[in-house]
Every structure is written in C-alpha cells, then in structure tokens.
Symmetry: C2
Subunit: 220 residues, 2 copies
C-alpha cells in the first residue's frame, strides 16, 4: 500500500510528456489482468479471494484506490506498451486476461502479447460479435462477450415470469446460448460479409423458433 502511494504520488507529479511505468517486483505463476474497469475488477476480486497472485495493469490512477481496498497489487501502466508488459513479467505469467473495454486498445494489447509471448494463454472480454471475431483472428484462447450472460439471465427471468416455468425457461436460454456460441464461431469464416452474417442470423432465429414449436407440439 505504501509503495502504491509512492507510485501514485510519483505518477501524479510526473512531467506530462514523460511516459512512466511502475517497477514491478519478481513474480511467478501469476495472472496478469489488463484493464481494471467493471470487468477486470471482478476478475481481480475473485482471484484475491482465493489468494491467487495477480498483477493488474491500468492507465487510470483512480482504479488503484479500488484495488487497494481489497489488498490487491496494481500497477499504473498502459498495457499496449511493450515495456509495461515486460515489467509485468508476462513472460512468466500463467495467463493474461485482457479486460479492456475499448476495442482497438484491447486488440493492440492482445496482438502484442501474442507476438512477444506466444506461449502465454490469453483470455479476453469482447465488446460484441465483431470484436469477438477479431480476437479469434489473433488466436485468443477464451473469449466472452461482456453483456451476453447478463442479458441471457434477464431473458431467463422474463421467460419464467411470463409463465414458462423454471425448468423450461432455463432450458430455453441454455439452448439459445449454445446455438448462439456455435453460430458466433461459424460466422468467423465470413465475418467481413454483412449479407452472410444477416443470413446466418435469420436462419438461426428460424431454427430456434422451429425447435421450440416442435417441443410444444410434442407435448400436445
């Protein structure tokens, strides 16, 4: 905490034109979290709860305060810069979790990690389907769309409350999610073709509707 405060003070009083980054102590088998917004904070807090070492990077000094509250280590620094990744010892990390919300910055970070540390698995938060496809281009191991699961859960609650029943609501959402994930992967092949993407979306919707209609018929 004292070190963080020292860094904070140094950061706040630095000359505006001189790029700075923090000295990061030697770590092994740690997880590197790039970006400490709403998303990265959850990752950091879950890892902290289990005592798993992590190094978190964020260019925004206000995030330091947040992580300090639960005793985590966090460093100022823009994860799109090679010297910051080197200082964070990505070389020795178990994984890099890219939780940066801005698409271009996220991709730049992933690209850099991939090129310099090809042996380190990369996980990433995706803004949307297009971002997910570009992360797939870079060979990211695990990708999750940032609003997908919360939207599914709210859908499930709506289904349940309009009378579908607990089990049927859960099964519907589960099936939707599985098919949507498969479609996302299949769409990767023609991610640059809006007509094919639209066609895929329409087909997906029809297939699902037919599937659930068949379910209803079977019960009759």
């Amino acid at each position: 905490v004292l070190l963080v405060e020292k860094w904070l003070a140094a950061w706040l009083t630095r000359p505006a034109s001189v790029p700075t980054f923090d000295e990061i102590p030697e770590t092994h088998s740690h997880v590197v979290i790039a970006g400490l917004g709403r998303f990265g904070q959850i990752i950091a807090r879950v890892l902290a709860a289990r005592g798993i070492p992590f190094t978190a990077l964020d260019g925004d000094p206000s995030q330091i305060e947040v992580i300090r509250r639960f005793g985590g280590r966090v460093y100022f620094g823009d994860a799109t810069r090679p010297e910051i990744l080197e200082a964070a010892q990505v070389e020795k990390a178990r994984a890099v979790v890219v939780c940066i919300s801005r698409v271009e910055e996220s991709l730049k970070t992933v690209e850099l990690v991939r090129r310099r540390y090809p042996h380190v698995p990369v996980y990433a938060r995706a803004r949307d389907r297009a971002h997910a496809h570009r992360l797939m281009d870079l060979g990211v191991e695990r990708i999750i769309r940032e609003t997908f699961l919360s939207a599914l859960e709210l859908s499930r609650q709506v289904l349940e409350d309009v009378g579908l029943g607990r089990r049927e609501a859960a099964q519907t959402v589960q099936m939707f999610a599985e098919r949507d994930e498969k479609r996302l992967e299949a769409d990767h092949a023609h991610a640059a073709d809006p007509a094919k993407l639209a066609e895929s979306e329409k087909r997906h919707a029809q297939e699902l509707a037919e599937l659930f209609e068949a379910d209803v018929e079977k019960r009759d």
Copy 2:
C-alpha cells in the same frame, strides 16, 4: 416487414424538428423492451424464439434492420417520451424490460413507467453498482449489472485453468456472486456515502478471503 419499411421511409424523410413515432397495433400481454442494443437484442431474440409477443422500442433506425432479420416487431421511438410508452401499450404489458445503456435515459424511462403504470413490473439492465442503486430507489423488480455475469464466468475459467478444479472454481464464483449481490443490496442504505461503500468493499474482500482460507485449512 412492409409496415416497418414504410415507417422507416417515413422516419428517414421526416422534418428534423418534428418528433415522430410509429403507430403500434393493439396488443395484449406482451413484453415491452426499451432499447435494442447488444443487451435488448438478446432479450428480443430469446422471446422471439419462444413465440412470446413483444414490442421493442429504440430511437435508432439501424436497429430495425437487426430485429427484422428474425421476424420481430420493432418501433422507432424514444422510450423516455410518455406518448411512445402509451403507443406501445405499456398499460397492458406483462412487463417492461429497460435495456437502455445510457444511465440517465434508463432512469428517466423507469421513472416514467413507474409513475404512469405502477402495476407493470419493470426489469432493468444496470451499468454498474451506482446505477443499480438508483434503480432500486425507483422500486425496479429485477436488476442485473450488465457485465457482472460474463466477468464471473471468465473468472471461473481462469480459476479452473490455474488448477482449482471444476467444482471448486464453480463454487468459488457462486459464493462470490451471492455475497456480492447481498452486499449490493446492503450498500443501498448508504449508497451516497463513499467512505461506507469503501469500508463495505474491504470487509467483503476480507470475509471472502477468510472463508476460502478456512476451506483450505479444513482440507489439510
């Protein structure tokens, strides 16, 4: 689809200063979805798959095209305007699902629905904890933080991959989520007091860490 196209044409050629909205046919027991971004689209697609009638409202004409692909009904209109809500027959709706990403617009819509249609349950997407607290102030029935579940799921995958094992990873995240939800509710009472919120966050982190430490000790 033809009607939608007619509306689209009318909308695109309208005088800029004249507010317009679509005529919406009589519906019963439908779900009203306000906002068709990444979040609202999932709700709309899940409901469409199950044949549950819904009316979707969005001020952005480009979203029309998206919903058209899977055969949904969608209307142009800003959900913060009383006449749009009236046209969407919120009066007779089973529920209103507010999926608007901009916080102030979301709150304005909820407030309007609450005041004019107090009998209709409201569900909402929250940007973050602060937004969730303001939605609680307005008595929203179901609130979900938009990136919370995807962040939890990515955390779970990280835990599993660093060696925690499938079951333990799932349990950790489950426990974290339950406690975090409880804390969100408890924090509502002092949502305007940053010092108390910070204290609550710190205590929450300590409790979790102790809980998992106790788990590890028990196994020894």
